[in-house]
Each structure stands twice: as C-alpha cells, then as structure tokens.
Symmetry: D2
Subunit: 287 residues, 4 copies
Amino acid sequence: MNVGFIGLGIMGSRMAANLQKAGHELVVYNRTPEKAEALVAQGATLASSPQEVGKACRVVFTMLATPEAVEEAALGQHGFLKELPGNSLWIDASTVNPSFSQRMATIAHKMGHRFLDAPVSGSLVPAETGQLVFLVGGEAKDVEEVRPLLDTMGKAVLHIGPHGQGASMKMVNNMLFGQIMAAFAEALRLGTSLGISEEMLCQTLLNGPGGAPFLKLKENKLLTRDFSPEFPLEWMHKDLHLAGVTAYEQGVALPTLHTVKEIFAQAKQAGLAQEDFSAVYQFVNPK
Amino acid sequence: MNVGFIGLGIMGSRMAANLQKAGHELVVYNRTPEKAEALVAQGATLASSPQEVGKACRVVFTMLATPEAVEEAALGQHGFLKELPGNSLWIDASTVNPSFSQRMATIAHKMGHRFLDAPVSGSLVPAETGQLVFLVGGEAKDVEEVRPLLDTMGKAVLHIGPHGQGASMKMVNNMLFGQIMAAFAEALRLGTSLGISEEMLCQTLLNGPGGAPFLKLKENKLLTRDFSPEFPLEWMHKDLHLAGVTAYEQGVALPTLHTVKEIFAQAKQAGLAQEDFSAVYQFVNPK
Amino acid sequence: MNVGFIGLGIMGSRMAANLQKAGHELVVYNRTPEKAEALVAQGATLASSPQEVGKACRVVFTMLATPEAVEEAALGQHGFLKELPGNSLWIDASTVNPSFSQRMATIAHKMGHRFLDAPVSGSLVPAETGQLVFLVGGEAKDVEEVRPLLDTMGKAVLHIGPHGQGASMKMVNNMLFGQIMAAFAEALRLGTSLGISEEMLCQTLLNGPGGAPFLKLKENKLLTRDFSPEFPLEWMHKDLHLAGVTAYEQGVALPTLHTVKEIFAQAKQAGLAQEDFSAVYQFVNPK
Amino acid sequence: MNVGFIGLGIMGSRMAANLQKAGHELVVYNRTPEKAEALVAQGATLASSPQEVGKACRVVFTMLATPEAVEEAALGQHGFLKELPGNSLWIDASTVNPSFSQRMATIAHKMGHRFLDAPVSGSLVPAETGQLVFLVGGEAKDVEEVRPLLDTMGKAVLHIGPHGQGASMKMVNNMLFGQIMAAFAEALRLGTSLGISEEMLCQTLLNGPGGAPFLKLKENKLLTRDFSPEFPLEWMHKDLHLAGVTAYEQGVALPTLHTVKEIFAQAKQAGLAQEDFSAVYQFVNPK
C-alpha cells in the first residue's frame, strides 16, 4: 500500500524517512522538490503535485507550516482530497488551531473520507530518531488503523479525543513550554543578579522539583548563549498568540499566558525571532 | 556533642527527629513546648528558652517561620547567640530573604561565631523521610563540618556560594515553582475549555517534556480539588513578593513573576490563603 | 437628496434623528423595523431591505454592531452596494477593525463607489445631543463632501488619514479608555484599602492632572455602583482583544494592554459582561 | 514668626521662595548650602544644621528626597525635632510612604509636637508659580493653622484625612500617572504602527475624553523625544514599587500596576532612569 507524504521540511523529511525505513512505499510531494532527493534515492516516488499524491494513495500525511499551506495542499486547485478513492484517511500532523482541524474534518467527511489531526510533541532530534509523541484527535478506529504507521515515527500515540483535540492538546502543550521557558529565564535572571552563577543555578534548579525535562535540553543553549533554532522563537510567539485568541473565543482569562506572550513579542522586536525560543533568556538577561 | 534545635513546627519537628534517630543528643526549644514531647520522650532535653540552648551547645539549628522569629531567637533578650562558646556554628534552615541571612552572618562573625544559611527544598514528606535538599550559603569548611548532620536530614547538601546564597537559591527556586504552578493551571484551564478532561490533560502534559517533577506531586490535589496544605498559598505569595522586592533592589525586570504574584494575590482575596499553593488552580479554573 | 441610514440601535437611531432634524430626507432600514417608528412618524421612508435603501439613495450610512452585520448589509443577498448609482458614497460609522474597513473600501471602489470609515467617539448622550466626534479615514474630498451631514450629528469631524485610519484611531482610542479605566479602578482600590473614601479619592484624582474627562462621566457609576450600560464591558473586552490581535499583526509588544484585557476577561467571567465597562471597578474592588 | 525650611532641591527651593515672597522670615537648611544663596540674598537665615532650624522656629517644613533623609533631619544627631519649643508644627511635604508618615506623627506627638504629612501634586513649574496642590493628612485644626502658609505655595490645600492619608493620596495619585503614561505610550505605539502620525494621535487623543491633563504637558516631550526630566523615571519606578509593596501589605491585588511597574523597570534597564518618566514612551516605541 502506498503512503502519501506532503511536506518535507525539518520535521516531515525525517518522519517520512522513518516510514520508509519501516518498509512503506512512499509517494511524496514538496514545493521545493530537492528536499525529496534522499527519499527518492531510497525508492520513494516523487509526485509533481498534491493531486498526484491523491491519485496514488489511500492514506496521506500532511506536515506543513501553516493552516493556509495545509488547505492549499488538500483543497487547492491541485489539491489531493478530490482525487482520493472513497473512504481514504488523511492524517494532518501539522501544528494548526483546533477550529481549523475541525473544519478540515468536516470537509473530508463530506467528501467521503476520514480525518485525523495528529500534531507531534518533539522537534528535530525525536523526529529523526522516531521518538515523537502523536497527539491525535478523531475516531478511535481510525487511530487504531493508522497506529502501525505512527509507531514507525514515534514512541507514543495518544488518542486525546474527537476531531480537533489533538490540535488542542498541542496548543496547550506549547503554551505550557513557552510559559515555563519564560519563568526559568526570570529565575536565572534573579539568581545571577544575586551573584549565583548560571551553571550553579541550572544544576540546582534543573535537578530539583521544578526541572521540567525540556528545560534540561535547553541548558546548553542557555550556558553557551548559542540559540541555534530547534523551534524558532517566532513560532512559539505564534503559538502563544493562537492560545490567546482561543482563550478569548472560549471566554477564558489567562493572565500569565498574555504576559509571557508579550515578553516573546518584545524578544522578537529585539531581533531574536529566528533564534530558538529559549533565546527569550537572551532578552530577559542580556549579556 | 549536643546539637541545639530551635523551632519544632511541621518541618523542624521532623528534621530534629531524623537528627535524633542518627544518634545525636538534642537540646530543643519551641515556643509551645508541647510540640517537643515526642523528641523528649526519645531522650531530647527541653530548654526553657533559646538562651538555654545556647548554653548547652556548640552547634545550633534554627527552623522558624519568619526573619523576625529568627532574630528574636538569636538576638532577643533570651537569645542564644550571646551564650554560645567561641567559634560555635549556627545553621539557619528557615526560609528568609538573602539580605537578612547576610546580616545574621555579619552579626554572628562579630560575636566570634560561624553562620550558614541552609534553607531546604522539599516540604512535609521529604522532611519526614530525610529526603530534603539543603541549599547552603557560607564558608566551604563550615559546610563540610556540618555535612554529617545535614546528611541525616536530607539526601543532598548543595553548597551554593557565600553567605546569603543559600537563601537566594531558595527564593529563586520557590519563584520558579509558583510560576510553573500558575502556568500549569492556565494550561489546564484552556484545555478543559476545549473539552479535554483534566485527567487526559494531566496524563499527557505531566508525562511530557513540560512535566516538572513537583507538578506530578500536585496532580492528585488538582484532580480531586482537595487542596489540603503542604505549602500554603499565602506562603508562596509571600515568597513571590519577596522575590519581587529583591528584583527591585537588584534593578532587574521580571514581568512574569509580577503577573503570577498578582494571580496569587487574587487567589488569596478569593479565600484560598490557607490552602495548598496548588489551589491557584481553583482560582484560575473554578468548579 | 435622500440619505440612507442602516442600523437604528442605541447610537444609530439618535444619529439619524439629528440628520432628520437638520432637514434631510431619510430612507432607513433596521432588522427590527419597530425601531424606525419615531423616524417614520417624522417623515422618514422605511425600506424593507438594505437593497431598497440602495435603490433610493446616493449617500448611505451604516451604523451596525459587527463587521459581519456591515458586510451582510452591504454585500449580502439583499445588500445595498450593488444597487447604488455610480460614484455613490458609503459612510460606515460602525466600530470595526482597520483591515475590514480597508477591505470594504477596496470592494466599494471596484464597484465604482466611494467609501469612508467614520466611527465615532462618544456614546449615548453625545449621539442624542449631536456632540459626537467623527474619526474619518478616506479621501479628503469625500470627507469635505459629507462634512455637512456629519456636522448635524457631531461637534467635530477629524480626517485622520487614508482608508482604515478612522477605524485605527477608534481602536487606539478605546484601548486607551479601557486601560485608563482599569488604572483608575486600581487606584481607587489601593486608596480605599488605606482608609480614604471613594468620594475623596474621586474628588481629588478627577480634579487633578490624571483626571481624564471620560472618567468624570463615570464617577457617579462608581460611587453608586450602578453600572447600567453606556458601553458594555463585553464590547470593551472585544475592542481590547481586537487591539491585541492587531498588535500581533503589526509586530508590536503591548504588555499593559494585554494585562488589562485579561482583567476585563476576568470581569466577564465574574458576570459583568452586560454592565457598563466601568464595572471593571466592581471586579477590582468588590463590595 | 520664623518659618523653618529644610531641603532646597528642585521643589523645595521654589516653594521656600514663594513663602519668602509672601513676607515670611525663613530659617533654611540644605546639605549643600550653595542652594540657599538666592534665599539668603533675599533675607533668609542660613542654619548650619537642622538642629539650628529647630532652635529658631515653631513651624518647620521638610521637603526631602527619601524617608531616610527626612528621618535624619528630624531625629538624627543634629535633628530639629528635639530642639523645637513645645507644641510646634512640623509639615513634611516630602513624598514618602504612608506608614513612614504615621510613624513620624506618632514620634512627633510623643515629643509634644504636631505633625502634618503634606506632599504636593505638581512638579517644577507649579512649584515655581505657586500652583501646587497640597494633599494633607493630620488634624483639621492644624491644617487650618498652616493653611495661610500653604496658600503662598499652592493653589489648593486638600485635607484628605488623618495622619498618613496625605502620603496615601500622593502614592495613589502617582500610581495613576504612571499607569496612564504607560497606557498612552502603548496607544501611540499601536497607532504609529498603523501609519498614523504621532502628531495626529496626540491631537486626537489628548483633546478627546481620554486626554488626562498631565498628558498634555508631556505632549511636547513625546513629539520631540526630548525627555529632560521634570519627574525622573526612576522616581516614578520607585513610587510604583512603593504602591506595589503597600498593596501587598493591604492584601490587595493590582495586576495592571505591577505590569506597568515592570515596564518602567525595563525602561530603567534600557538606560532611561534619569530621563523624565514620560520616557517610558521611548522604551515602548523606540526610534
């Protein structure tokens, strides 16, 4: 059975490679086809459009940067959705807002297909090593059907709930990361102002009860001030903004989120948009 | 050698018991002497004043609620400091502000004694089981001298730096906890507003990269809404206030800290002062 | 010359009445036609749809609650825009976001018409007494052409700049009001906590250099705690949200705005959505 | 009758000059005596210490920068309070915290004297032109006794309430200014990002219902970006900090205040401490 994969960026290329290693026949598409070369060299078929992917597969993954890109790939002039055979399965692993996922689910269903929103927790390294966590929204039986594929790319597949809840959980997850990152930056700032070294602070705090696992992965960036991006600061800012807009829509007050969002906005203004989101530390504690 | 222990509250009574179990002869004092009964039954001597403790010991621990209480015990009319034999060692395990610790160190030195600020990370259960972490400020040789005693009460003794840096690290540590707690409360709030259950949110987030270890200890409180205090919300608020005042003194801007501090202030106004500090969730997500 | 007026709510009905008093022949439309009765009794023609308005006029005002309502009236199935004779003039006095105004301007131009965004500063009483201030975006010559009509409804017509800048200025204006209102509420809160009466605080602060004119209009509401709505709190919250989203789009960090927005969100959660926006005081200082 | 005046800085020198112009015999003291020259040239007596002032007067004004300076002048080794004849009147016009004023009142009373806290609203220009507003805490009869003196320096004398309430009102007043200043800075920031000129924004907003009178006095500073200090930013930051500490003591949550306080802290970090407090605009909207 052919598996379609659309979107071969930092994450998608590594995820597709793990699918391929597990023996799946891939039909891939990327706007800049050069990124498909390694996969094609290993036997993948390169499609000239999303439409071509749709003609060749019953299961299609999308892993794209924005809702607009997803919508174009699925529903645009050369979109894949209208080409799929009946009752196909579309898994969108992109990070998008919950209401977008729900809308895609509705459209797919009307066209006779099935949909899962399945964004991932984890960035470059887990994508490469097949250690991602999938946060999935949709029907339980569809999750089970696709689980063997997801297992080739990740270490866990969590079925959160109905359509949109995978996207919701991803949004909540990233919001938590952004807030903890800012909190840790401020903790280091106060500590260093009192004469404690960054090394001592990291060692003590990260091995203590407040040491969230992802913070440990950022320790080296903070200590060396080398903020080469794993997850760019402007993307985190976008996710915090998305959470803020969703909170407004849901009638929910989230003061800490909004304060943290504006710290990231300030960090962007200060020129750190393209750095890793841990570079918020550089803004909070310049050196 | 006698070891003095002043302050037998929730924490102090359990810490002293561990010292005693390890075979040390204790001379203890508490304002309400009833709290000393269990220790006395096991052989501790009950002093009628801090002064009496000072006459009988060369090493004295204090574990009290406020800087004012520490100052009274050490330097008040019936204080212990003036009674100690020359070159004695005073270890203050209370949570106080760094400048207070530095002042106590200076006074103790002028009177011919040595001082360590050694607040602890960990609350009731680690105090009982000897699993505390000591964050110590002072001279390295004094830390080494007292390490065997600290080891009976804790699992780790971290020498952070000179006088006041134990207190500084404790303040930074608690500030990080307060901020992460508020962030987690807001994450659950947004998630539940989108229809995901608290159980699913806790399970996913706490086992993910944002799952700070202390949050897992609070999971049951959040899910049952039973906020019986381990560390009362008003104490957390006080620690956040202390961090805010210190930030002002150090000329450091900490926007997230201040926003979180005011959420705790609102939670206090809403009647949650005596609950566990995780009850900030009850304020953020009332039910 | 007939003047069209669509939207006869709290504001629109009073504005139209002032146009009528100045001798203009009105063709009016409102979803619930009862609200047009007083105007019809004075000679206005009641249209059965926006379309009917378009057929009878070369100048049309819209004063509606949301961008969606404006779009429906102008461009919906029974919209007026397609019926207008060439080179007509549409003045939208509704409070909408700048990008919406720009889009309407573009559409109107493509259809051969002219457009002004002309939201008003001032609420019920100024609408009634013709004391509104129009904040206008669009071509200078169009502003001059319509100025005699605007003068019947307002005391000032400010040409802010090109299309969308009337809406922009209105958004900035309301954002300033919301922030000052919250600041004043907090000032009263601190003052009363120190034992000063609300009367003394209002008298001193409102007659001092911080006494923004609109605050004086709210004094009686604060002192009597009668928050009957002039401008509902949920509308202010919506405007603050709109400003926050616009700030994100413009790449601008506005920390105070976002904190104030969340206080209004909390006030909404506390049941004050339908009250006047000055009821944020009730949330900040409950009694 | 001699009138004592201690503290001849920017404010005090101008206030004393107005007392002198009204015909009062002054006995003045300043740490740097050069600042007294103009007053001495017009007939004032220069004292060599606060003590000398106390020996020569029954009414003493203090106008100093900090509580510590006030305490030193009144109660220090060469303080004036112990020298005053019985039932003298001390008016402290300095900006200090309410609890300090209350403590001074208590001490003065125990020594047989009367005390008023009488900080002023208004800065350099009103001090020079006798247009200050006195916010007075203390006994009504004492206020009446000193009113003729205050009237020479100000345009209004407001008796707010008992001891400390003058200081309280001043704190609340400055807190309101700081918050409105930050709000206005953010409003201009959003407006300019949307293409509206600073001039148009100032003209529209300052003449509208949100135009707090003191903002108009700052307009020129904002438009020229010449932030020569009338009231330095670091003093405003100090006053906001003081309000925050007082809010904590009073058990009151003030989220906006704390967010604004941290914006001023950031502005200080950015090197604007010595500029006028309106320079917060330079931080919010750098150019």
